[in-house]
């Protein structure tokens, strides 16, 4: 449930679902997101779900904070059939040239490289949100033994397809961008396809991701 609605500037609603990060709370956020999206309310420009917040930005020519707050507070929220989201398999190659930060993690976490990968691949990951850069998923939660901070100095260029971990989350860089997560591998899949206007993002909020480790030769076959 929304605990509080405040204004983020003069053209956005800030819906607060609490401070905790959990799949349950995030599913609540996504439920609101889907309901509001489906209603196609006049004046709404964007709805952005995240771990435990939902930001609704609107066109100040058409509506305002007071009006929209009332509408959202009185909205009937229904469950969706497809609450579970899709299951998406993502191949990753963790060879040396892709696993840019595995050595660093080994030192920080004090567990072996093999163990890091074993723990990483043994879990399924839930997509809390997509964004920052186009198509970029925020996934979780990683095993407690894998939780490390971001790089002290972020990389100016993260290679496209890099798979990173930080705190309880993992991600995939949908294209080359600056970034500070600990990179353990790279996927040959296109996470964001700009020419597919219907569904440009492979992974959306509420989806489940299963990572599968592949060899360098399998990785190269993907690109042929």
């Amino acid at each position: 449930m929304i605990k509080n609605i405040s204004n983020l500037g003069d053209a956005a609603l800030y819906c607060d679902f609490g401070t905790e990060v959990s799949k349950e709370i995030n599913q609540e956020v996504i439920k609101y997101f889907k309901n509001i999206k489906e209603k196609k309310l006049e004046g709404i420009d964007n709805i952005t779900p995240s771990y435990n917040k939902l930001i609704i930005s609107f066109d100040l020519n058409i509506t305002n904070f007071g009006n929209l707050k009332k509408i959202i507070e009185n909205l009937e929220i229904k469950k969706f059939e497809s609450e579970k989201g899709n299951i998406i398999k993502i191949p990753i190659c963790c060879d040396k040239e892709f696993a840019l930060d595995i050595k660093r993690l080994q030192e920080k976490l004090k567990i072996s490289e093999d163990k890091i990968l074993e723990k990483f691949f043994s879990k399924e990951y839930y997509c809390y949100m997509t964004g920052f850069i186009a198509g970029h998923p925020f996934l979780g939660d990683t095993d407690k033994s894998l939780r490390a901070k971001r790089l002290e100095t972020p990389r100016v260029r993260m290679p496209k397809g890099s798979v990173g971990i930080t705190e309880q989350f993992c991600n995939i860089y949908s294209f080359e961008s600056p970034g500070g997560w600990n990179i353990i591998g790279n996927t040959p899949l296109n996470i964001f396809e700009k020419n597919n206007e219907e569904k440009p993002n492979l992974i959306g909020p509420g989806d489940t991701v299963i990572f599968k480790q592949i060899s360098m030769s399998e990785y190269q076959e993907y690109n042929d």
Binding site: S6, N7, L8, G9, D10, A11, A12, Y14, T19, V21, F33, K37, I44, D45, N46, I47, T48, P49, S50, Y51, N52, K53, L54, I55, S57, L60, N61, N64, F65, M129, T130, G131, F132, I133, A134, G135, H136, F138, S174, F175, S177, F192, K194, E197, P200, N201, G204, P205
Partner: protein
């Protein structure tokens, strides 16, 4: 029918096609984009006699040098821009907010913007641009929009598909007013900052740095001290949000911003002041002034009325 096109002799620094941008894509990581200074964008299309959401060429600092090939074309430039029309036998300095005509072989040299950042070139007609999610707006970072999501390049051709208003002499007397006080509503993490830093934020001067582009405006001034946490759980961002990262220097998020961010938000620039904010070149000094939501809503109405009023003065 003659084929009309521009040949790009010099691309300028950051020339892109823009319109009003794209909506309802934040949740997959795609920002609005669109013209930075919306008022000057609208004026360019009004003067050129185009529909409201028509593509224009936006340029920053130095604009492109274009050679026109074809029969003739009418165009208008808005902003604070120095430009020249170079014909076979003569050169003419151009004025903004006025229609001009180019004929076969003429050059349009958009030399620079002055005391500002962005200018707009609208032709009376249409460019052959590819739309993505109903918008031509180029977001170079995600490589989205027309021109394969890239800035204009040397030697490329810009195909013009349709032209009109060839003899139009529309004109407007307009001066862009400058702004030093940017009005701001307190952000959702305002209380993350020390009492002294809150005072600094609303009283001291900040300087616009060179690390400013269509994504964000980085400011420098007295350090803003965070007393709670320099990170928040990542959440959505909107245009105008002022984030303060660990180094204590505020960043204002602009039209091509990342859709999600993890730095505390000290404030949000109000909608009516956005056009003037983005026109401040590096080195400009600004101050933030606190306003309430109700003031911001009123100021936006005034801004809208003012825009309509300016448009009504076009002769």
């Amino acid at each position: 029918m003659t084929k009309n096109y521009f040949e790009v002799i010099r691309p300028g620094i950051n020339a892109t096609f823009q319109d009003l941008g794209r909506k309802n894509l934040y949740h997959i990581g795609i920002p609005f984009s669109g013209a930075m200074d919306k008022r000057n964008y609208l004026l360019a299309n009004e003067l050129a006699g185009n529909k409201v959401n028509s593509p224009v060429i936006e340029f920053a600092y130095q604009g492109p040098l274009l050679k026109f090939i074809g029969e003739k074309i009418n165009f208008t430039i808005t902003g604070d821009v120095k430009f020249k029309i170079i014909k076979k036998n003569k050169e003419e300095d151009g004025n903004c907010y006025q229609n001009y005509k180019l004929e076969d072989g003429d050059h349009l040299d958009i030399i620079s913007t002055y005391n500002s950042v962005y200018g707009y070139l609208a032709i009376s007609g249409n460019y052959d641009v590819q739309l993505q999610w109903n918008s031509c707006s180029i977001n170079t970072k995600a490589q989205i929009g027309s021109n394969n999501g890239k800035i204009l390049e040397k030697k490329q051709k810009i195909i013009i598909t349709e032209t009109h208003s060839h003899e139009s002499k529309k004109k407007l007397d307009h001066l862009n007013s400058k702004i030093e006080n940017i009005r701001v509503i307190k952000g959702t993490n305002y209380n993350y900052f020390s009492e002294n830093s809150k005072k600094i934020f609303f009283n001291e001067e900040f300087t616009v740095t060179k690390l400013t582009d269509r994504m964000g405006m980085r400011l420098k001034g007295a350090k803003i001290e965070n007393i709670v946490d320099t990170n928040i759980k990542s959440e959505g961002i909107v245009k105008g949000v002022i984030q303060v990262p660990t180094d204590g220097n505020p960043i204002v998020m602009l039209s091509d911003h990342g859709t999600i961010g993890g730095y505390p938000k000290i404030g949000v620039v109000i909608s009516s002041d956005y056009d003037k904010l983005v026109q401040l070149p590096p080195g400009s000094k600004i101050k933030f002034k606190e306003v309430e939501l109700s003031d911001a809503e009123l100021l936006f109405k005034l801004y809208q009325m003012e825009t309509k009023n300016i448009i009504s003065k076009i002769k």
